[in-house]
Symmetry: C2
Amino acid sequence: MREGLLPPGRATAATQAEYDETHLRRLRLIRALTGARGLSVASAKHVLDAMTEHRTDLHQLLGIAFGIRPPAGVTPDAAEGGAPAGANPEAAALVDAMGWSVSEHNPARQAVDETLRTLRSLGIAYDWEALLPYAELAQRTARHDLEQLETVTDPMEKAERAVLLTFLLEPALMALRRLAQENESAARHGGGEHTST
Amino acid sequence: MREGLLPPGRATAATQAEYDETHLRRLRLIRALTGARGLSVASAKHVLDAMTEHRTDLHQLLGIAFGIRPPAGVTPDAAEGGAPAGANPEAAALVDAMGWSVSEHNPARQAVDETLRTLRSLGIAYDWEALLPYAELAQRTARHDLEQLETVTDPMEKAERAVLLTFLLEPALMALRRLAQENESAARHGGGEHTST
């Protein structure tokens, strides 16, 4: 088998036949964790081992894949790590208001509080309540995210897809928002000359 | 008046009184364009001049603020620039299917095609039709984005807020998706021990 964790492109059918499917999946997951989620190779292996250990508990498995529950021993890499409980009161209020079941240590809590602080420092009056309509839409997005995983039966393949769809779709989701903003601006304020060709 | 384009924090009421409100808004917009949108100071000034010129045409103004229509003379900075017409067929198909009115040169088109290519190169069968449910949600998000601007009457203040809310909210929107994913995973696969404390 080729050395290196990141084989270029898809392996051909002929090549695939030489390898065990589990082995290939393990490689792909490491590639997803190092590429899409930005972990070091050492951390990715650690995360993968924890996933394998919890392969029968899908919620735990997906939590590890999403970076919500980094297993003990994984160095907090960029954008990972979490925060001490109670450190992000605005995220806590939002999660509460939405009735969400979310771990205290989900690192996304911190991003919510940080964004709100930044907006206020720039003179925009914005608090967690202003985020509620976005939270409703995020809930629908997440529902669709998880629905897409239902067609996958193998737990490790599900975890791989969860990582890829969560992290790699982010730029596309933000791009869709920009496209929709232009359309919405055209509908609200547009003259004919500025609309689509 | 203090030198430097990026005065720290909010000016006090006493200090504000010394300056013209238009001047302060100009400074804040430059800060928004350089900080949140990542433009160089020279490009930000150029964009600002174009905004001022188009201040009576709100759609044009917001297009410039969002980075959809960079005015002539602005060097394409990071993540700006746009693509030649027809270069992104999957984004085109999606925009068409949604019935959106979106300029051929909106740079977000490129992000859509790039993401789909990346996903396929990693072995995930994904095309623009798979993005349609996300596009529906993006449309609602954009509607809410634009609604929030309705309360602002001054066009330049509206443009400033458009820049800040578009770019600075991105990490919070992605964080809300992660929080909602954990909640959705808990609802679908979760045992009691993994849910919120």
